[in-house]
């Protein structure tokens, strides 16, 4: 069976990961920040969550997930800055342009990483380490000399990403049939992308304590005993360099969330945050040409409880008011128990294209609301976000700021 062997093909997949992206981009722009311990945090307050420590800050042990107070405790002179989403998006667009010049098959995996598949390109039979060095050189020349990236090369996306993580910052590594066992022997299970603590426990329960043991485990055992699904077969193939992650999923939801600076159970205040989240979410969905039939909310409370609930609403939500009206009902019900909210999230699902909405609008005579919503969007498109807003959002220009989400990049 072909999958029992490591994929013998020449590596054709390159994973490129910008090192400490948000911090490095700021250091590129602000020359005096270069070479200094810097953290880019969601907020500059002591409890602000560190999104990106610079390479210099990492040397002090500062990691993603620290808050600013913890970062200052280990490095008192660390510089704290908030992100510049527009600049990071611009860097993303520039590196994407470079990658597109090498292959038509470029998949951005997040704001700071992308995969280039060189199959069927003129580079297919070229030594990709040379191409990798060229890509790195172009990134420095065309984006900025402070931009640093790690590059991994292999026969599939999983091993290419793993290779990109071997030497940071600025590594360039290849994993193929010849060195895969050697690379695995120097790693822990949680070094594998996709293996977090929960999966690690599951592997331990089945006697798998190391990546080498994971690699040597029988395919049927992985499928039937460890993963109880086809995921076992996928892991078996993935570790042998066969591509099983080449499927890109379209957008299924739009969502926004906000961690409250001041926790509250006050429905009037929370409804203002909710309106702004709905406006941002609605704008993104409408801009992409979608309406939605489902709404869900996630709420975290100060007592540690968490609520995630959603439902289909029976019509196609299009305007900000539609999203707000439906999510407010969930919020109102959730607050009946007198809990204090620490994090508020809203998302819409079961997306439908606007053409389908328009057909329904005529049926239900909701055309006026649709037109008002489009007119408001046009004003904001012309003069800038939140120039015209619902009255509920008055005075909220400095709340729920523009941020870049973790995870896949489906819009910029």
């Amino acid at each position: 069976m072909i999958s029992s062997q490591h994929n013998p093909a020449r590596p054709s997949v390159m994973h490129i990961d910008l090192n400490s992206c948000f911090a490095t981009v700021l250091q590129q722009a602000y020359i005096h920040l270069r070479g200094k311990p810097l953290v880019v945090s969601a907020y500059s307050t002591p409890k602000g969550f560190v999104l990106s420590p610079s390479i210099e800050a990492k040397k002090f042990g500062i990691k993603l997930g620290f808050n600013n107070a913890q970062a200052r405790a280990v490095c008192p002179h660390v510089i704290v800055r908030t992100p510049d989403p527009n600049m990071v998006r611009d860097v993303h667009r520039k590196f994407r342009k470079i990658f597109d010049s090498y292959s038509p098959n470029v998949v951005p995996k997040s704001i700071d990483e992308a995969v280039i598949d060189f199959k069927y390109t003129k580079y297919e039979n070229t030594d990709l380490t040379i191409v990798g060095q060229e890509v790195r050189h172009r990134m420095r020349r065309e984006i900025g000399e402070w931009i640093k990236c790690s590059i991994g090369i292999s026969t599939n996306r999983f091993l290419a990403k793993l290779a990109a993580g071997i030497h940071k910052p600025e590594g360039l590594d290849v994993i193929d049939a010849h060195n895969v066992r050697d690379v695995f022997s120097r790693m822990a299970l949680t070094d594998f992308p996709g293996i977090a603590r929960r999966f690690e426990v599951r592997l331990h329960e089945n006697g798998i304590y190391t990546p080498i043991k994971f690699l040597e485990t029988d395919e049927k055992f992985l499928q039937k005993k460890v993963f109880h699904s086809v995921n076992g077969n996928y892991w078996y193939m993935r570790m042998r360099g066969w591509e099983v992650d080449g499927v890109e999923f379209g957008r299924k939801t739009y969502g926004q969330q906000y961690a409250l600076a001041e926790k509250t159970g006050n429905i009037t205040l929370l409804s203002r945050y909710l309106m702004k989240l709905c406006e941002k979410m609605g704008r993104r969905a409408r801009r992409a040409g979608y309406a939605a039939r489902g709404i869900s909310m996630s709420l975290s409370f100060t007592n540690g409880a968490h609520l995630h609930t959603g439902h289909l609403v029976g019509y196609q939500m299009y305007s900000t008011w539609d999203f707000y009206h439906e999510s407010y009902r969930i919020l109102h019900k959730a607050l009946a128990k007198g809990l204090v909210v620490s994090q508020l999230g809203v998302s819409c699902f079961d997306l439908v294209t606007v053409r389908a909405v328009e057909e329904q609008l005529f049926e239900q005579n909701r055309t006026k609301k649709h037109l008002v919503s489009d007119a408001l969007d046009k004003i904001n498109d012309k003069y800038g976000e939140f120039v015209v807003t619902p009255a509920t959002m008055m005075g909220m220009s400095k709340t729920i700021l523009d941020r870049i989400a973790f995870g896949s990049v489906k819009e910029l």
């Binding site: 020359i31 005096h32 920040l33 600049m87 003069y383």
Partner: protein
């Protein structure tokens, strides 16, 4: 330390026709002249339909962020970064 200003300034730019590179060279702010020695980053931002160019430059002492509104051609000093430890 970063100070936010949002103040209109007088500025001089250079443009290289070969590389299409544009860079602020000089700024007069509050009666004082600042000569820029290096461009850190240049990008564009749309505020509504208006395209704005953002330049991060340094005079060797401080870092400056300048914005040009391509509709009004107004140049605004957005912020200055001082090279000193954060509080």
């Amino acid at each position: 330390m970063q100070d936010i200003f949002e103040e209109p300034v007088s500025a001089l730019f250079s443009y290289n026709a070969k590389t299409h590179a544009i860079m602020p060279r000089k700024m007069v702010w509050k009666g004082r002249e600042y000569i820029f020695t290096k461009l850190g980053y240049h990008h564009t931002v749309r505020i509504g339909r208006t395209l704005n160019h953002i330049f991060h430059v340094t005079d060797g002492v401080n870092d400056y962020r300048l914005r040009i509104n391509t509709e009004t051609l107004e140049v605004v000093l957005e912020d200055v970064y001082h090279d000193q430890l954060s509080a």
